[in-house]
Symmetry: C2
Subunit: 172 residues, 2 copies
Amino acid sequence: RTLNEVLFFPSEVACVEHIFTPSLHHSCLCPLPHGVETSFSRFLRRILSATSSLDLCVFAFSNMDLSRAVLALHSRGVTIRVLTDKDYAAITGSQIGVLRKAGICARCDVGSVYMHHKFALVDGRLLITGSLNWTLTAVQSNMENVIVTDEPDLVQPFIKEFHRLWMHNDPA
Amino acid sequence: RTLNEVLFFPSEVACVEHIFTPSLHHSCLCPLPHGVETSFSRFLRRILSATSSLDLCVFAFSNMDLSRAVLALHSRGVTIRVLTDKDYAAITGSQIGVLRKAGICARCDVGSVYMHHKFALVDGRLLITGSLNWTLTAVQSNMENVIVTDEPDLVQPFIKEFHRLWMHNDPA
Ligand SMILES: [Zn+2]
Ligand SMILES: [Zn+2]
């Protein structure tokens, strides 16, 4: 059966520590609410479900939880490719430098005014896309939407477009 | 069979006059290329396919062709509701004032930092959503994506969210 899920934001704010460290579920002492499933926790789980690859094509990436998620996948051996906007990548708070320092391959779009996509492809099988940039404001303060789908008619064109953009922005 | 279509931008630039005035197809004298199907012409046709209602929830709306399309639908008797961002609506070039002057009901979001959605619901049946704002830069200069789908698992949550936001931003 096809997976089709829609998440709306702003998300409630809740602790996501147990998503990174399942064993800590009952012992986190931070002041945020615990045991609450939110749009953001669902989003984070989908990203962290990657077992072989994560192709990320996102205009703005400054969210620390999402940066932590991508770094966690990288350290598990998941192949990460990040395509982002050249102007936003240079902004204070952008996580692109952090990812690169960890050895993750990131390329900046050079062929358009804005590289305005906000999509991720998980294991070449699941498409996560919408209006949501990977920032804290987008997650906690804006009206936003994200679609999660494994419908091939939607996933395949995004795989093809990611490949095209990735090749087009080859830094070599 | 379910409709699932993906459009990528920037779009080639081509004349769209024949989409507004089918009888003019072979006689337009403007300098743009003619007879070319583009991402934007497909997008425009989907919007203009509305026969009963168009619910529009979009952060930035300054594109003149899309404004013309919404005005054309309104004059055909299609019920239009436009929900937009309060800050962008006040910007020079925003079409919200033009739509209101024509008698179209537009509401500005007051409940978030940005009303960052970019989706349209055609006849309560077709969802058009993605990263694309309704501006000329988005259409002609940016890397953007738009999904067109009538998959109920995707359409229904957006219908519900539109209703929620519309009620929440009741100007009365
Ligand atoms: Zn906690
Ligand atoms: Zn023409």
